[in-house]
Symmetry: C2
Subunit: 231 residues, 2 copies
């Protein structure tokens, strides 16, 4: 039998990533950057929502996107006409983690943004467990997925601040109750903010963008108070 020294690597790495995320979140706040972690099932419309957001703002906000996928840079190609974007390819991994986000930030080359969106890998399970230094976690739920998803994937809804019910243009064609989905989601997390959106037609996008502006103003104001208090 060999004897060797055992180091509890997994625990230490997790604690270190958590510490780094908390530090980065504070740094972003100081620079006035609201960070939004966008999560959902595959194909719920994360990239389309970000396209619609960029179009709505029409260059009036400084925004950037880090977009995660197992493979391909198709989402980055879709967003490139609208804003600075970097593709984070996980090479098969089921979620983003802080080191990949840091690499993406280096590749963006600047950190002078009002809004940094991190589009996670399409997966309603694993990304729930990983802090990416965000101020806001947004989960998209497309009406085509079924209104039973909040109850069936509770951790993702419990750890989110916002639900965007997407693909509202398809609502007449599918068995989906917006009320039932919202009721189930609020059983899990009563403070959830809910938006109903169709990114293709632009329905609901203005309300969503207004919310982002408000969240950023609150962040900047809270940070100013903190800075004054610490002087």
């Amino acid at each position: 039998m060999n004897t060797t020294t055992t180091i509890p690597v997994n625990r230490d790495v997790k604690a270190e990533l958590k510490r780094q995320a908390a530090e980065m979140r504070q740094d972003f706040a100081r620079r006035g950057t609201l960070v939004i972690n966008v999560v959902s099932s595959p194909g719920a419309g994360k990239t389309s929502l970000l396209e619609a957001t960029a179009k709505h703002w029409g260059g009036s906000r400084r925004m950037a996107v880090l977009v995660g996928d197992l493979a391909t840079d198709r989402d980055a190609q879709r967003l490139a006409p609208f804003c600075p974007v970097e593709q984070l390819t996980t090479g098969g991994a089921c979620h983003l983690e802080i080191p990949l986000v840091q690499r993406g930030l280096e590749k963006l080359g600047t950190n002078d943004f009002e809004f940094l969106f991190i589009e996670n890998v399409g997966n309603l399970v694993c990304p729930a467990s990983h802090d990416l230094a965000e101020h806001v976690r947004v989960v998209l739920l497309s009406v085509t997925e079924g209104d039973d998803k909040p109850a069936k994937y509770p951790k993702m809804f419990r750890t989110s601040d916002v639900v965007v019910v997407s693909k509202m243009d398809l609502l007449p064609h599918v068995p989906f109750s917006v009320e039932a989905a919202i009721a189930d989601a609020r059983l899990i997390q009563p403070d959830l903010r809910i938006f109903t959106v169709c990114s293709l037609t632009g329905e609901g996008v203005a309300d969503w963008c207004e919310y982002l502006d408000e969240r950023r103003q609150t962040l900047v104001a809270a940070n100013a108070v903190e800075e004054t208090a610490s002087q």
Copy 2:
């Protein structure tokens, strides 16, 4: 510094699960049970496809379902009117593994089935890496998810035998090219069998059921040859 003996637990557990899966697959073949592992994104229509399959057969086949979810037994409730079904609740885990399947089989109480469907957790990433003793792996791709999914989630399509393009009734309302999705999927796995289905209307369900019958007949025939050869 403490010294201790290190046992490569993870590797051994994986090898043991792989061995058990191979053994179970052979046992199922001997008993004439075709095992089908059904995977997809959340809400792509796995439960609806199994409902439509059971309705199409109308009790003429002995089928059972083990259905995996993070939480709730809603899918089992939906399937219970049609066939024996057991809910496997993972308690947050992102995929099914062999021990949970074994527990489900015990709860079913009998193994006298022609078809055993294992409905995996809705997740297009992690279930790709876990052998559940299936003879056929089927990945559902709903037209509402977008035709870019095979290229973006290659492992799931590479490890599958069949793609069921689902929710075909919604095709007129969404930007989805069946041809592009199939072409991308076949770049990854040239031998994929493709079915286009709408479980709500029953479109394409007969072809899918016919394929299952054929696969089972092939399994039974191959096993008979093997039994004869080993006598």
